[in-house]
Amino acid sequence: MPIKPLLASLALLILPALAQGQPLLEVRGPDAGGAEVTLQFDEAGLAALPNADIETRNDYVDGRTRFTGPLLRDLLAQIALAPADKLILRAHNDYHVTIPAQDIFDYDVIAARHMDGTPMTIRDKGPLWIIYPMDDHPELMTPEYHNKLVWQLKSIEVE
């Protein structure tokens, strides 16, 4: 593999990582008191939360793959969520989808940071990829849920 593109990719990757304050994810919603809050998570912030391992297949990987990242319910722990709430997931490539908040409590939905132990770059669907545990819950293996596997996740907001 040519060296220059590799260096370029590394530069693009490491820069945000080195600048520790660089946010990887933004979370917006009402807090317990009803006020609108914006939470920002950087690399360290994400690592500080309990990370879950999800091994699953889905339409975008070639086989059973191990994803590691914080659970959505932990990311949104400081947000007051009502059962009927909806969450808008936005991606860097302007894709967005709405999921029911109930999903993150019914299932171990994670914002995966690592794929098979390696941190994901934008080029391979990183830095964060919403992963549902589809192998563990066959009812999730539908086109509807595959559309919710938002990669290049930028923000989560409560509708």
Partner: protein, 466 residues
């Protein structure tokens, strides 16, 4: 009848074929539906158009960078997004779908090559566009335009191929549906034919069974009539016979004084013949009673040896007349059976009589009692001319005698064995015959010995034959 069978065979074959065909058609349909499901959320046109969108945005980023409106990082970011699109197209389901379009695979390879070149170029961009990087940006724009054109051409190609395939799939579906419909109708028709055939068959069987029952009733009626006829005729024969015998006996007894030797001889012959006639009538009557099930048996605990002894004693005169000896042998042990003494003696007498008649002069008839585990046998053996194998099967039938020329020589009604068999079977026993031509014949009566607790009533079923 033959024609119906042919129709049935053809119909069955057709139904089987139709069913197989329907199953195959359904499986094919199912397969197509599965394909459809995959296509549903992985439309190749959509996949490629996503790439086109990102290619356009990258091109736009390059131009705005050139205009100084954005920084190089933005261009790099857009390049990353394009790479991620290619990455998505190279894994999982999208890869599977695109593999069906060889143009897409080639195009992707070309685009990756172009992107690799762009990597080098974009990495060298200063954060703000300046004159020094103009050449690099120009080259990048050129590559970008190349990618855009490539992707757009690919979309149109994929669209065209997909439309054709969709049309074909729809046509296939319609054809399959048509076939399935046809096969279903065919199966339905075949099943109807089968059902009609089955119903017709049942009708035929009902008619057949009714006919059979009618025949059965007729046969039973005929048998009844014959029995009654025999009974009546026998009685009508006996009465005059008794009268004749009576008269002759009186004359022989001297009712009309002393007879001349000639008269006495003639009367004696007449008397003997009356005796014989009487015996024949008795046999006929007995047989009729046995067949009608009207013969009454009086069972008691009897010794087989004593039955044999009584029979042999009664046959002594007859045997001497034929110059034949009777030898009796008995094994030690219990020989009590439940039997009607009179009737068993009768049966055994018939066997012995045959044995004596068919023994050579000076010969010997053996009577033996065998006691085995659960069975008692009375065996009568003669050393006469034997019975041919083909005659053995019908030996116990009425009016059957081996070799009609013999009949006149040996006498008898041909009823003796038939009566003996009936009597033995009514005792719950069995009778069997064995014979070798030129050496002799053996008749064996087998019965179940009476157990301590047996009461004098007719045994249940026949004992096993030897």
């Amino acid at each position: 009848m033959r024609r119906l069978h042919v129709v049935r065979a053809i119909t069955l074959a057709f139904v089987a074929l139709a069913l197989l065909g329907t199953v195959a058609a359904f499986r094919a349909l199912d397969h197509r539906v599965q394909d459809l499901k995959i296509q549903e959320h992985s439309n190749p046109v959509w996949i490629v158009s996503q790439l086109e969108y990102e290619a356009l945005r990258f091109d736009n980023a390059l131009k705005t960078y050139l205009l100084g409106e954005v920084e190089a990082a933005q261009v790099g970011f857009r390049l990353d997004i394009m790479w991620s699109r290619v990455d998505v197209m190279s894994h999982g389901r999208h890869r599977q779908v695109l593999a069906d379009y060889p143009d897409a695979v080639i195009a992707l390879a070309d685009i990756q090559a172009a992107l690799t070149q762009l990597d080098t170029l974009v990495a060298s961009f200063p954060p703000q566009a300046d004159a020094a990087s103009a050449a690099g940006v120009a080259r990048a724009l050129e590559l970008s335009r190349g990618i855009k054109d490539r992707v757009h051409a690919l979309i149109l190609r994929v669209l065209s191929v997909k439309s054709k395939r969709d049309a074909k799939t729809r046509a296939d579906f319609v054809t399959l549906a048509g076939w399935t419909r046809l096969l279903s109708v065919g199966t339905g028709v075949a099943l109807s034919v089968l059902m009609i055939y089955a119903w017709l068959n049942a009708e035929r069987q009902r008619r057949h069974s009714r006919a059979q029952q009618r025949l059965l009733r007729e046969a039973q009626a005929a048998s009844e009539a014959k029995s009654q006829f025999l009974s009546v005729v026998n009685h009508e024969l006996r009465t005059p016979l008794t009268s004749i015998k009576g008269g002759i006996s009186l004359l022989l007894g001297g009712a009309d004084g002393v007879l001349s030797p000639r008269s006495e001889r003639l009367l004696q012959i007449a008397h003997d013949n009356c005796e014989r006639l009487g015996l024949i009538i008795n046999d006929l009557l007995d047989l009729e009673k046995l067949e009608a099930g009207k013969m009454e048996f009086c069972f008691a605990r009897e010794s087989a040896a004593s039955i044999v002894a009584e029979t042999v004693e009664g046959m002594t005169q007859f045997a001497r007349g034929h110059d034949v000896r009777i030898a009796v042998a008995a094994t030690q042990g219990e020989d009590i059976v439940l039997a009607d003494r009179y009737r068993m003696v009768q049966a055994l007498t018939n066997l012995l009589s045959n044995a004596i008649k068919f023994s050579p002069r000076g010969g010997c008839v053996d009577v033996r009692i065998d006691r085995a585990d659960r069975q008692l046998s009375i065996v009568v053996t003669d050393h006469g001319c034997g019975i041919p194998e083909e005659a053995l099967g019908s030996i116990f039938e009425k009016f059957t005698q081996v070799d009609s020329s013999d009949k006149r020589a040996k006498g008898g009604t041909g009823l003796g064995l038939s009566i003996a068999k009936s009597i033995v079977e009514k005792h719950g026993g069995a009778i069997a015959v064995q014979s070798t031509l030129g050496q002799g014949t053996t008749f064996t009566i087998t019965m179940r010995p009476a157990l301590q607790q047996d009461r004098p009533h007719p045994p249940e079923g026949p004992a096993e034959a030897a």
